[in-house]
């Protein structure tokens, strides 16, 4: 047996332990990260009076708050697209956060592009997240559905996990409420924090 053999064996044993530990640790870390929701909105029972978002009275309105650089919010916008296809009576407003002291154009990127492509959607740049505060939202992807009278009918996220698009109870609830006009709904919201209060 050459002197290198025990060293090679030890290396393989260490690598085997690292390999096994990695699989367990990665599974657990990813799971914790993706299933931990952001802070839920603390919003009132009706459309906030202080809001400058031009709501069309007598129409269903949907407000989505997004951080333009939150990669998870691409899935939220994708889900919003699916909702809009099924809910023609809903007028969507996407409020895109931008800090006032950052240079113009900072908000450009995949999330803003996707939001701009949404049919019927009005994309509004939300300087310093003022509107997000008025709606009581902290987390990117926060979705609020208001009925024709401006009453809050749904508050929450419309993705099943962080950055995961696909059918989920948030999306289903919004479509059901908007089409039937019956009931209310809540769902955890997954995304980056728009406001530091949204950091958990």
């Amino acid at each position: 047996m050459t002197p290198r053999v025990p060293l090679i064996r030890a290396t393989i044993v260490v690598a085997a332990l690292v390999w096994t530990a990695t699989i367990g640790a990665a599974f657990s870390a990813i799971r914790r990260f993706e299933t931990t929701p952001g802070a839920a909105a603390k919003t009132g029972p009706s459309w906030p009076d202080a809001s400058t978002v031009p709501r069309q009275r007598g129409e269903w309105s949907l407000v989505m708050l997004v951080h333009p650089h939150c990669s998870c919010s691409r899935a939220s916008v994708q889900e919003l697209e699916a909702i809009l296809e099924k809910s023609p009576s809903v007028q969507p407003y996407v409020l895109v956060y931008r800090p006032a002291d950052f240079q113009a154009g900072w908000e450009r990127g995949a999330v803003l592009d996707a939001a701009s492509r949404l049919r019927r959607a009005k994309v509004i740049i939300d300087e310093n997240g003022r509107e997000a505060k008025r709606f009581g939202g902290f987390t990117s992807g926060q979705t609020l559905l208001y009925d024709r009278q401006g009453r809050l009918r749904f508050a929450g996220g419309i993705t099943s996990l962080r950055g995961h698009s696909g059918i989920n109870s948030g999306r289903v609830d919004v479509i059901r409420i908007a089409s039937s006009g019956i009931g209310t709904g809540e769902h955890p919201v997954f995304g980056c924090a728009i406001d530091k209060k949204g950091t958990k």
Binding site: A15, T22, I30, A75, P99, L161, A193, K196
Partner: protein, 235 residues
């Protein structure tokens, strides 16, 4: 007399053919091990690049930190690739090496699928990887890879169904549906492995026969030369 010679020839040739087949398979295993060692490193780097492109930062207002996916790509990616690459370098051609490579390749698929945000297109990596594993011509390696895929889907389907099926209330047996598509590909890959082995055995038998015939020709030539030399000496 001629029968006993013939039997001796057959058993010698068969033993040589078996030896040649083992040599060729061993060389193939080592070559494919090296290929996967390179592929696993390339996938590791690709995973980091994908994470940096798709989700470089997590944000809290205007503050940003490196996204969890980047850490996962760096640390989990390295952890997954470490053992198979070390085995491919220090224990190439062994049964353990190729089975660890098969399992790691499937885990790399799972990681890449995750890093791409569960994009359906990234699931093609699983099917591509199975085809690459068939280069070994060892159907048991494909079975190992399939078991890892099925176990991953089963475990996630039970504890975390949204991450694999997109819905929270997927049926417990849904992993079987996903595994069935993998099995569909497996059937043809396993068949191709068996055919490949048969072809290899045939080529080894032909080579052993050629070697035997060439050896016999050399013996005949030597005997002829000796006879000629003796005739010349007596003349």
């Amino acid at each position: 007399m001629s029968d006993s010679i013939s039997l001796g020839v057959d058993s010698n040739t068969a033993a040589r053919a078996s030896e040649l087949q083992k040599e060729q398979l061993s060389a193939r295993y080592r070559k494919v091990d090296r290929m996967f060692a390179v592929l696993l490193v390339v996938q590791y780097l690709a995973g980091i690049v994908a994470a940096l492109i798709v989700s470089p930062y997590a944000w809290a207002g205007k503050e940003r930190v490196l996204h969890m996916h980047v850490w996962v790509a760096i640390l989990a990616g390295a952890g997954i690739a470490l053992l198979p690459v070390i085995l491919a370098i220090f224990r190439p051609g062994t049964v353990l090496t190729r089975h660890v490579i098969a399992a790691s390749q499937m885990l790399s698929s799972a990681l890449l699928i995750h890093l791409s945000g569960g994009r359906i297109e990234t699931h093609f990596h699983v099917f591509g990887s199975l085809a690459f594993l068939a280069f070994y011509l060892d159907w048991k390696v494909i079975m190992t890879a399939t078991v890892v895929v099925a176990a991953d889907h089963f475990a996630r389907g039970i504890f975390w169904p949204e991450s694999v099926y997109g819905v929270a209330n997927a049926e417990w047996w849904r992993f079987l549906e996903h595994a069935a598509w993998v099995v569909f590909e497996d059937i043809f890959l396993i068949w191709s492995c068996i055919l490949g082995n048969r072809e290899l055995a045939g080529a080894a038998a032909r080579q052993a026969e050629v070697e035997y015939l060439s050896e016999q020709e050399q013996l005949k030539s030597a005997a002829l030369e000796m006879a000629l030399a003796e005739m010349q000496a007596t003349a």
